[in-house]
Symmetry: D2
Subunit: 385 residues, 4 copies
Amino acid sequence: MPHRPSTSSGRPEQDAEGRTPETPEHPEPKHLTGRPIRYYRPRGSADIRHLIDEGFQAFNAARLGEACRIFADKMLLPEHDTTIGLTVAGALTPAGLGGCMVELMERGLVDFIISTGANLYHDLHYALNFTLHRGSPFVDDVELHEDGVIRIYDVLFPASVLLETDAYIRDFLVRSRLNGPVSTAELHYALGRDLMSRQPGCEVHSVVAAAAANGVPIYTSSPGDSSIGMNIAYHELMNDSRLMIDPNKDVNEVCAFILAGRKNGCVILGGGSPKNFYLQGQPTLWEVYGIPKGGNDYFIQFTTDQVVWGGLSGATPSEAVSWGKVNPGVLPDTVVAYADSTIAFPLFCEYVVGSPHGRRPRKELVHKRDELVAVLKRDAKQVQR
Amino acid sequence: MPHRPSTSSGRPEQDAEGRTPETPEHPEPKHLTGRPIRYYRPRGSADIRHLIDEGFQAFNAARLGEACRIFADKMLLPEHDTTIGLTVAGALTPAGLGGCMVELMERGLVDFIISTGANLYHDLHYALNFTLHRGSPFVDDVELHEDGVIRIYDVLFPASVLLETDAYIRDFLVRSRLNGPVSTAELHYALGRDLMSRQPGCEVHSVVAAAAANGVPIYTSSPGDSSIGMNIAYHELMNDSRLMIDPNKDVNEVCAFILAGRKNGCVILGGGSPKNFYLQGQPTLWEVYGIPKGGNDYFIQFTTDQVVWGGLSGATPSEAVSWGKVNPGVLPDTVVAYADSTIAFPLFCEYVVGSPHGRRPRKELVHKRDELVAVLKRDAKQVQR
Amino acid sequence: MPHRPSTSSGRPEQDAEGRTPETPEHPEPKHLTGRPIRYYRPRGSADIRHLIDEGFQAFNAARLGEACRIFADKMLLPEHDTTIGLTVAGALTPAGLGGCMVELMERGLVDFIISTGANLYHDLHYALNFTLHRGSPFVDDVELHEDGVIRIYDVLFPASVLLETDAYIRDFLVRSRLNGPVSTAELHYALGRDLMSRQPGCEVHSVVAAAAANGVPIYTSSPGDSSIGMNIAYHELMNDSRLMIDPNKDVNEVCAFILAGRKNGCVILGGGSPKNFYLQGQPTLWEVYGIPKGGNDYFIQFTTDQVVWGGLSGATPSEAVSWGKVNPGVLPDTVVAYADSTIAFPLFCEYVVGSPHGRRPRKELVHKRDELVAVLKRDAKQVQR
Amino acid sequence: MPHRPSTSSGRPEQDAEGRTPETPEHPEPKHLTGRPIRYYRPRGSADIRHLIDEGFQAFNAARLGEACRIFADKMLLPEHDTTIGLTVAGALTPAGLGGCMVELMERGLVDFIISTGANLYHDLHYALNFTLHRGSPFVDDVELHEDGVIRIYDVLFPASVLLETDAYIRDFLVRSRLNGPVSTAELHYALGRDLMSRQPGCEVHSVVAAAAANGVPIYTSSPGDSSIGMNIAYHELMNDSRLMIDPNKDVNEVCAFILAGRKNGCVILGGGSPKNFYLQGQPTLWEVYGIPKGGNDYFIQFTTDQVVWGGLSGATPSEAVSWGKVNPGVLPDTVVAYADSTIAFPLFCEYVVGSPHGRRPRKELVHKRDELVAVLKRDAKQVQR
């Protein structure tokens, strides 16, 4: 069992930059000597744009270049007004890629997000000024377990970070007075507001807070499948709360966004259930609601999964055509670049941020959820008649 | 848009074997000429056991052999009374592997299941006697789209199968009178009972029906992320139903099973959110509820994902030790075999079914959910004092 | 440095089965306690054929089934008289798969082989009655290094096996009186004959010896790239030998086989330079010699590499069409099954050995090399005129 | 059959930049409309160095960062005087990455190269001013075959490029008067000199020419396994030449370089037989020659292959320790970054070129081969006594 730190250790104070390295009562375990992981913010480097356009000419380098140009030159064209979904799977916030997500949200380049719960949970560590450390994947896990150190591949941090983040979540749940079925977007919005009020300024280094600040709804496809969900379950069992995630709301809200989109496009990091959740939007419209909206107009994925292994993560835009998930006419505007998101996504963001349309008005969909679901309901009723 | 078949086409009648090939009004599209996919049932072949023990000596063949022996010789030992969870990701029921799952359930070799929604949804096609066909991944998807044929890699079937399965689900939802928050286990149990009543005998060729018949609870980690979830969302929006999946119940029920297990072990097919959902059970106990249960005793995974890509699907048992998901002392009883489940799982099932303890009393956990959650609550309250 | 065993330790004596576990002077290091690896011989199991035909219905399981049926039902049809090349990359003989290769050669089902040098070198350990052990990939390599244990993933054996195998090779080179440029087929044939004379009966448990016994020429695409090549280089430098591998002979002999084939087909295990070497046969004919032979008629590959990574191992039959390596009309007779050869190849061999045409007259190409190269030269001269 | 262009079409003239787009007599086939691929030259971008140090914090991004720092901060330290081998597998010159290799050679950052033959053969197209085009992997290969277009994944060019490059090689072979056993380094050096004399200035856009200009020996582990080897085989068969590659020389020359290295380190792109050829250097010393040199000091690999698949490409530095290929004490100075070389290698080169020791005196080993092999022989003789 990891050591359970006394909860009286208190919240660390902030330094001048709004960040505080954790100051434990005991010396850091030897495994936590690597540099702190920070949210890197892309700045639109011209050098990187040059490398991508001129040096990335074939194989996955070329696919990454295509992805950059589809996003920058087509999806961001003002006349297309593309509604852009970002799906996030794989340990991206632990790896410090939350900064890329924050940058895209601030610039209006992403309209809604579907993420694994784990990425949102681990984002809270940054918001709460805990420190995750760069490390190595080649460490002795039994030793880590004894030292109370948690490992996410090569990211290391004390188990107390989990326990204190959990304590924050449980306190937030009580404070929030949420007490009934909510969509995950509503939950995450409340969480982001709470973070901003208690950790002022954290919206520059927290995805959840930045989403709230910029009106970007965040959904989780597997709501029970992270420490946030685990703590809500605790809240129900132990506090007799009636707060629960209603996946129906999530399905209908995302479906409504897609219905409302002039054009629709996505950036898929990894794959997994967030990818599936996003891509089922179009089939929900035609297959379930009978509304002939058509599929995605743009499709960008960074993954290392492969079509031949049979999982949805590796399924191609081409296969999605047969399901009505992708418009049959737009295959040239779809691309899968086979690359680790930790490498590809920062490069992609540098390119996009530095592009001519690298900033656009934010849609702030988090505030339009009810209105757009009402449109979905109206349209579906009309079709039924 | 796929052709929307008239809903008056009716349900096909059954043949002598309880299966009916679909009999459409129009001739089959040219793409649907491959053999029908059937649920293959493993029979415990001695030849296959010999091959695995004597011919699978190194690399992933040896890992597959280890997995077989950990399951057959350790997890199934009567004195261990292991509570066994099976997690299912990747298109296994479309590939005809539902028969392996049914066989394991009937024999009491699996106590609960966590599956992607897609695997359960596509299982309904078998229950309802629709036909999926063997095909090729190298087909023209634009042509398929025009012909109203749906493709899952190399599995092909008419879009009408989707639409009629959806219609069945919506009818079931109305019939079921479910009207409030439920766990996915409760939903799937009701669905399985409904299938058995309307398609008598289908429990021999349907995972959902067999689970109901054998008392095996089935959970879905991402409840909005399949056509079942999409239709529940429809039901809420269009019929003002109050039926919703409550992920809190899923979290607490699975957590309670693990708490109650004398020993705990899992077989993970693929990875994805079902893997994560299963593995978070132990951390929920210590991290959230403060109950020092300890981690898994046995861990078997078949996957083609890799640890180096950073997703949870590829995370190793070793990394899970640092999280308290796997007991530090049991690494010898954990194994990951890197292989496509469509090849590895039938081989594994043949071995296990033919092993000395290849049948054991069923735990029928679906009927013990409330009782075990009450124990969880009691234990957690005690710890708090 | 691994311990260098005294060379006086002598050759171990044979037991009744013609195999001898090594009997070192000192007790076995603790790492060498796993079962000895034996060459498993496929027996044509009907159960396995049933599983493949009925249970392997989609995804890579289906591809493996296709591979079995293309080989058994098409390539082996007597009227096609297909010239069949087998290419071997990855540690197959260390994993005990040499028995599958021996079985195919004895039955006339493989006409020539292109292998990495490593597979042939490690085959010599079996021929010389040294023992490789089943083990684990999770061991401490620094400890192994200190204990003088060599690791090939999860295959473990004492460093003395390397040193004594090398000593055998160097003695053979002296004994052989080979002293000039030879093809690798000629070298391996001489080596196989030498093994049979010094280890009588070893052709039932050695690929190199069985190839000599059955007239199957074995080529190595990278002749300096194994301990056999390293010892030939030693022989030249230290003994002033003039023995050398002449890659020109290898290129022309393989090219001549393909020219002579009524139909040509291949089974590619892994990929790598052996795959490339085989597949360049057809382009050599048209691109270099100007002989319009056309490409392969049948193409079977087992690999886990992927087309998207850009290496030749992952290149598809389809891409090979543009190069004239594969006949454009035969794509239906090509298949890539994405699976570890240690699992897929024994299954494939069981199927093939048990098939109606599971034995055919051997072509014994090793004795026809000069004759067929002369035909190649004649045809090329005719084209030039 | 691809169209065989008339050989009278002549060599295209050069433009001002020393490059000439091919000017065929007939209009370009529709597939060849993509931008020409050029050899991108890294320039040491500070932005890219910043991204790698600050933004690449975990997972493979962090491994790529480690690789950059091991190379720039350790291998290039003047006091270490590391002998650096670069191994090249995968289609890097077709993808335009030859420019990175040229830059490293000019700056003295690579001392010798082991490459697949294919990379060298396709480099000749650049030297001879033929044009390869950016394209798509999703094209109809039967159509390409009919149009005489060759495809390397997404790189497209007319079949005439192959035929004219082959014609150049055959003319060179006659001109060169090489007529006996040579090492591949000697062959490639002669080829590079010939290119420089016939295409003056081509050493800025040809790996083979640049290697000759900078004294960098290039080896090929599988000498018969490319169009260069195929044409040498033709030369022997049709012209009765006695020119042949002697792999013994290659083995001994590389072995001698490693013996002479103060420290030894490698950069491995991909894996395959070039990786194996490099890494066998140390075992050749201790296992075959009995010289206790010890293993590599530094080891950097970019690959997408995985250790679990069992091929040498995916074998880790750790496993190499048990073979004496890597020094047991230096595992911290070894790194494998799992990434497509087309993305990772240009980033790595930008970092390295911009580093403080980004230029060092060239070793010009191509001229020291005989001298160093003599030292190897002398040392080996001494050990024998």
